[in-house]
């Protein structure tokens, strides 16, 4: 369970430079695919590995690549999604800051597999220092002959450019990202057509997350079968989990899929337990968009089986008692947390970030924020909980992109698991009007 694939060399001094990265076997995968493998071979290897997209949706990467319209006469594009704005998620930033060449190596291999000659890295605008790191790393890669024309004398050409966003969570959604890359507002597109046939500039395009692309090099080196043997079942390989909230050791951890959630939270190797010796109240394990679970249900499923860090185990129980692995943004809440306040805070986020294109999301997120705010500040009404559930259910599934679902699930799950806290807020305005009232458990 200690297996490190992405972060194996993270502690090596100078690993962010080309020379040190190369001395640790970096870019071997590029030499191997360009000289020994066809693009089909590379796609087949990724399919064998069972790699699933690390951006949140978990879609099989090899399969996504096989959809790209090879017959199109237009140029094909690879776009790396480095928009990382989902609350709780900060793993891509960590990867790019410390191992920029791991991403570039993966992008070269992936571009070759897809028949791409121009690729972009779309980085959220706030990460200006990351843009500096990436541009420096790219210059090194060019001057060492691994980018540009006729790479390693094989006749293959590839350019990679960094593109800054400018502050908009919605641009992490892949079609909004493409709009933004074209110099427009980040309004998601209606699918189909999917980017694989009509993406950037109406050309066949693949959008992949930073972590997904970064692991492509190691997979080529070890072979798809080997990678598939790591992890558990359909959750193959390792995953970066960014852990934050009320824990002793927040940070980015590479875990082999299948690690028990309990070990992840309490082991000194990972989160190191809850800070200030408090009790754990709840966890959002996959970025703020996935359902929140109370302590008992995150540690064990409703059937009493220990929960593991895999796509399957976390979603065991569906939306009634389960959640999702999502982006791996693991937020831990201690016993002092006010669930209502937290739900209001996250809903304000979705309201702020809704692009405004679809009425259910544009109006619904604002409405939910308003209702949650009045509950939190002691102005709640007795049927507000039912109202929230009803608004959430009317947003879900009724929008062009999944931001609507992402806004609805946290509200629906918070009420499902912590309804008593909402009811207490409505019943005891005199208590919740106290600023910083914290968890209501101490008043009950």
């Amino acid at each position: 369970m200690d297996r490190q694939i992405l972060l194996e060399h993270i502690a090596v001094p100078g690993i962010e430079t080309f020379d040190v990265f190369r001395s640790k076997g970096g870019y071997n995968a590029v030499a191997k695919v360009l000289k020994e493998l066809s693009s089909e071979d590379v796609v087949a290897e990724i399919k064998k590995s069972g790699l699933r997209g690390r951006g949140g949706a978990g879609f099989p990467t090899g399969l996504k690549w096989s959809f790209i319209d090879k017959k199109s006469s237009k140029p094909k594009y690879l776009v790396c999604n480095a928009d990382e704005s989902e609350p709780g998620t900060f793993k891509d930033r960590y990867l790019m800051e410390h191992l920029p060449h791991q991403l570039i190596e993966g992008m070269i291999v992936s571009s070759y597999a897809l028949g791409v000659n121009t690729a972009y890295i779309y980085v959220r605008g706030e990460f200006k220092y990351i843009i500096g790191i990436l541009n420096k790393a790219l210059r090194e890669t060019y001057s060492n002959g691994f980018l540009g024309n006729n790479i390693l004398g094989t006749g293959y050409n590839l350019d990679i450019h960094v593109h800054p966003g400018a502050g908009a969570y919605i641009c992490g959604e892949e079609t909004a990202l493409l709009e933004s890359l074209e110099g427009k507002r980040g309004n998601p597109r209606i699918k189909p057509p999917f980017p694989a046939s009509k993406g950037l500039y109406d050309s066949p395009t693949v959008v992949n997350n930073v972590e997904t692309l970064a692991v492509v090099g190691p997979i080529i080196n070890m072979g798809g079968e080997k990678y598939a043997s790591i992890g558990l079942g359909k959750s193959s390989g390792t995953k970066l989990i960014s852990a934050c909230g009320n824990i002793n050791k927040p940070g980015v951890f590479e875990i082999e899929m299948g690690l028990p959630v309990e070990e992840f939270i309490y082991s000194q190797k990972y989160c190191g337990g809850i800070s200030n010796n408090k009790k754990m109240k709840a966890v959002i394990p996959g970025g703020s968009s996935v359902p929140i679970l109370p302590a008992n249900l995150i540690l064990k499923t409703a059937k009493g089986i220990p929960r593991l860090l895999t796509y399957e185990s976390l979603s065991e129980g569906g939306f009634e008692t389960g959640t999702m692995l999502g982006s791996g943004g693991f937020i831990v809440y201690d016993e002092d947390t006010c669930i209502v306040r937290n739900t209001w805070n996250l809903t304000r986020f979705y309201h702020h970030e809704s692009c405004g294109q679809c009425s259910p999301c544009r109006e619904g997120t604002g409405w939910m924020e308003k209702v949650l705010h009045r509950i939190e500040t002691g102005e709640g009404r007795s049927h507000d909980m039912d109202l929230l559930v009803s608004i959430a259910s009317k947003i879900e599934g009724n929008t062009i992109c999944p931001l609507g679902d992402a806004a609805a699930w946290p509200v629906a799950s918070a009420i499902r698991h912590f309804r008593n806290e909402f009811e207490f807020h409505v019943a005891h305005p005199e208590i919740v009007k106290i600023k910083d009232h914290g968890s209501i458990e101490k008043y009950t």
Binding site: P75, E84, S85, E86, P87, G88, T89, F90, D92, R93, E97, R124, G125, E126, F127, K128, Y129, I131, G132, I133, N135, D159, H161, H163, P164, G165, A166, G167, A168, Y169, S180, L181, E182, G183, K184, R185, G186, Y201, S242, A243, C244, G245, N246, P250, G251, V252, S288, G329, I331, Y333, T337, N342, N345, L346, F349, H352, E353, C355
Partner: protein, 193 residues
């Protein structure tokens, strides 16, 4: 890389009121060349970032019009983008724009108190600028620094694991303009394009 040449004649005809320096123009041309020749609108976000930096920290209508001319697009295409993204400011800002994270993970790790303290110390609320024109304060959503909470950004720099004392130190350094030594936990870069 074949550089796209900006149409200065067209620009002169429009008689606009601002202009990039020669160095910046060269940088802008390089950026435009990253995209296919018929897609130079793609350069809009990076060019707006540069314009904002060069022309006083915000995008006036003159500046947006100038960017439209450079990229050969309609003015409205620039306005609608400039108003969509939270990092583009349409009004004059302070020399330092403090963007403090207000989202869940930071909020439960003391972020709300940090934001309150900043307001109290600078005697301004969210969105306002101090009377000496030095600081603008803005509450923003998750900065992707949740594990290093509470977090804030000042211009291009990240400041993390914030405490009240640390805020005092940072603001002190900036006020005295001795912003060469960086407090622990800050991340920045001088050059990003």
């Amino acid at each position: 890389m074949p550089g796209f040449k900006i149409d200065h004649i067209q620009y002169k005809k429009n008689n606009l009121k601002v202009e990039f320096s020669a160095d910046t123009l060269e940088k802008v041309e390089k950026i435009i060349a990253r995209y296919p020749a018929e897609c130079r609108k793609s350069a809009l976000l990076p060019v707006l970032h540069i314009a904002q930096e060069e022309f006083g920290g915000y995008l006036s209508v003159d500046v947006m019009d100038y960017v439209a001319v450079i990229l050969g697009i309609q003015y409205i295409e620039v306005y609608e983008v400039a108003t969509f993204y939270s990092q583009f400011y349409l009004e004059k800002t302070g020399k330092y724009v403090i963007e403090v994270c207000r989202t869940g993970p930071c909020a439960i790790c003391g972020g709300e108190k940090i934001s309150e303290y900043l307001q109290k110390k600078l005697k301004i609320s969210d969105g306002e600028t101090t009377s000496d024109g030095l600081f603008t304060l803005r509450e923003v959503e998750c900065l992707g620094a949740c594990g290093y909470a509470p977090a804030m950004q000042i211009n291009t720099e990240f400041y993390e694991h914030l405490t009240v004392d640390k805020i005092d130190t940072i603001l002190d350094l900036l006020t005295k303009n001795t912003n060469t030594e960086k407090p622990e936990g800050s991340r920045w870069t001088d050059k990003f394009f």
